[in-house]
């Protein structure tokens, strides 16, 4: 009985962790290139969930088809937002903390917009797969969650390929390592920043669609929960390290889901935060971090 629970905790931990990994990865792309800690990230994600909700409820579109719609649409929004918001921030006394505050403002605006469009009720994407659950060994697992896991693995693989095998991906990694040097070799840092912002927003939108498949319900005010998870994941994996965030996300998902096996449900978030604080004091640069602390 209890081994079954532990096994289920492990599998759910992997599924949830894969989603957290994507959240952390997109946050880290943004932080790495622009030094922006995106307080509005959770709202981007929930907005992505709402896109999939609307497409399914109004047009009957399969949630997986909402994935590219959200990704491309949010990429465009992020690309534009970068040109709109970032230029003035570069001259701030402390760009990092200023952008943190500014993105908090954006998160309030997004949450308020979603509230006026959809109301405060908890919703879910009521699409059901056939069969509704699959039997894997002794475990019954909801198909939607397995599909979400598969999709996140594909996205994670694509990201790794993008960062290590394509020129824009390499440029992004170079910009994370040394934003001054990359301008010397002739890269337009403004366009690259916009690309990073677009990529982060697009990924957040796609993650939102997966959130709709895995988590039971969402409201316009669910955003901060995901933002916080993202913060924990990027500190765990190393600030500004997109691949480290993938690792941090899986670790956090496993810790959280295992905690629900052994502890009361309401207390389980403490495990995540405890992990965060432990990592910050033991290894402040994160599991794979290379960005220096100021």
């Amino acid at each position: 009985m209890s081994t079954l629970l532990i096994l289920q905790g492990l599998v759910y931990g992997l599924i949830v962790g894969a989603i957290y990994a994507l959240i952390g990865c997109s946050l880290n792309v943004l932080y790495g290139v622009l030094r922006v800690v995106n307080f509005a990230h959770g709202e981007f994600i929930i907005a992505g969930t709402f896109v999939s909700y609307v497409l399914f409820e109004r047009l009957g579109l399969h949630p997986l088809l909402a994935l590219p719609v959200a990704a491309v649409g949010f990429f465009a929004v992020g690309y534009a937002l970068c040109y709109l918001l970032m230029p003035r921030l570069r001259n701030a006394d402390d760009p990092e903390l200023s952008s943190f505050l500014m993105m908090y403002g954006i998160s309030l605006m997004l949450a308020a917009t979603m509230l006026s469009l959809f109301g405060a009720d908890a919703r879910n994407v009521s699409y059901s797969f056939h069969p509704i659950a699959l039997k894997l060994g002794p475990l019954f697992l909801p198909t939607a969650r397995l599909v979400a896991l598969g999709v996140s693995l594909v996205i994670g693989g694509l990201l790794a390929w993008f960062f290590y095998r394509t020129l824009p991906g390499k440029a992004l990694r170079a910009a994370i390592m040394n934003p001054d040097a990359i301008q010397m070799v002739g890269v337009d840092i403004n366009r690259l920043s916009a690309l990073a912002f677009g990529l982060a927003a697009g990924l957040a939108g796609a993650t939102g669609v997966l959130v709709g498949l895995v988590f039971p319900a969402f409201t316009p005010f669910s955003g901060p929960d995901y933002t916080l998870i993202g913060f924990i994941v990027i500190v765990l994996g190393g600030l500004g390290h997109p691949i480290g965030a993938l690792l941090g996300g899986v670790l956090f998902g496993l810790a959280e889901q295992m905690a629900t096996v052994f502890m009361p449900q309401a207390l389980s978030p403490i495990v995540g935060f405890g992990l965060l604080i432990a990592v910050i004091f033991l290894k402040p640069s994160g599991l794979m971090g290379r960005v220096q602390l100021r």
Binding site: E96, L101, I106, S116, I232, L293, R294
Partner: protein, 324 residues
């Protein structure tokens, strides 16, 4: 040569004294008006919360403006202050006059528990501070219902004392503004600004960097705890969702930034302006309230990151003689 230095020193001291007098006169006039509010204004609540935000923003300025930290979990002190008051009054039956100072001490004690985080900087400090505030919230709402009332919170019982608690808030405001002024005038204030501008240089000049930061941190923790305590008395009820709402931190940061972090008068100016705007938005556009608040934040960071007082001082450096 020597006499020339003497002359500038004397006039510097005179300018500093004049600047202090202007600030004391300005804030003093406001405080006198506030003391009269219960006699003349029907809208006690507006002025109560104005004072609360002035104190929160001014206390925040001591840690953020003077030392450069951004504690995004500042609400932890507010919430703990509120809960300590509620528990002492309701569960132990202690008088409010004892409970509120003890709530302030509890906040300072909490700041000592969190003191290790001061070795982090920048965004790390901000994120950890936020996480700690949420841990406090989760712990308090999961304590046995006998102690913290679970998710329903605690009703303080007894009859509400709006006028008395109003004057308690006034006392907290006087204490906060007075402390901020004293810190800015003192060696501590000078040391903090030196550390903020260049910690290594300050250290080389013999400033005890960790100790000075700790003092600022403890002081900055006292005022939100008192604010939370008095607000709990004023509203007569405490629950973990509102007492630890991130929006409280955010508003504190926004108000202080609006006025100008690192200036003594800034948080007062910013809180008065933005709380007025916020209240107006609430009255006129209750639905769009949150959206407009977010918009104000974005515009503020884009166009006036140093706040009203900070921008004035930068544009017209001569004003430094009159504004602190």
């Amino acid at each position: 040569m020597a006499s020339g230095t003497m002359v500038t020193e004397v006039s510097d001291a005179r300018i500093a004294r004049a600047r202090l007098l202007i600030w004391l006169a300005g804030s003093g006039a406001l405080l006198v008006w506030l003391a009269l509010v219960p006699l003349v204004s029907p809208n006690l609540s507006f002025w109560f919360y104005l004072m609360l935000w002035v104190s929160m923003a001014s206390g925040f300025n001591i840690i953020s403006g003077f030392t450069g930290y951004l504690p995004f979990g500042y609400v932890a002190f507010y919430g703990v202050g509120a809960y300590v008051t509620a528990i002492l009054v309701r569960k132990l039956g202690w008088p409010v006059a004892v409970a509120i100072p003890l709530a302030g001490l509890a906040g300072v004690a909490l700041s000592l528990i969190f003191a290790k985080t001061l070795k982090l900087s920048g965004i790390y400090f901000a994120i950890v501070s936020l996480a700690l505030a949420i841990i406090c919230q989760i712990l308090i709402s999961n304590l046995p219902e006998k102690i913290t009332g679970g998710s329903y919170g605690i009703n303080l019982g007894g009859t509400p004392q709006p006028v008395l608690s109003f004057y308690a808030m006034l006392a907290v405001t006087v204490l906060t503004l007075g402390s901020a002024t004293a810190v800015a005038q003192s060696r501590l204030g000078m040391a903090l600004k030196a550390i903020r501008d260049d910690a290594e240089a300050a250290d080389a000049l013999g400033v005890n960097v960790p100790r000075m930061r700790l003092y600022a941190w403890m002081l900055a923790a006292l005022f939100p705890s008192l604010c939370g305590a008095v607000e709990a008395w004023y509203t007569n009820v405490v629950d973990s969702t509102t007492a630890f709402d991130t929006l409280i931190t955010a508003k504190t940061v926004i108000y202080a930034t609006m006025g100008g972090l690192g200036t003594v008068s800034g948080p007062l100016v910013g809180a008065v302006i933005l709380f007025g705007v916020d209240d107006f938005i609430w009255q006129r556009f209750p639905v769009a309230n949150l959206f407009l608040l977010g918009l104000v934040v974005v515009l503020l960071i884009q166009f006036m990151p140093r706040g009203v007082v900070g921008t004035l001082l930068r544009r017209k450096p001569l004003l430094r003689r009159y504004l602190m």
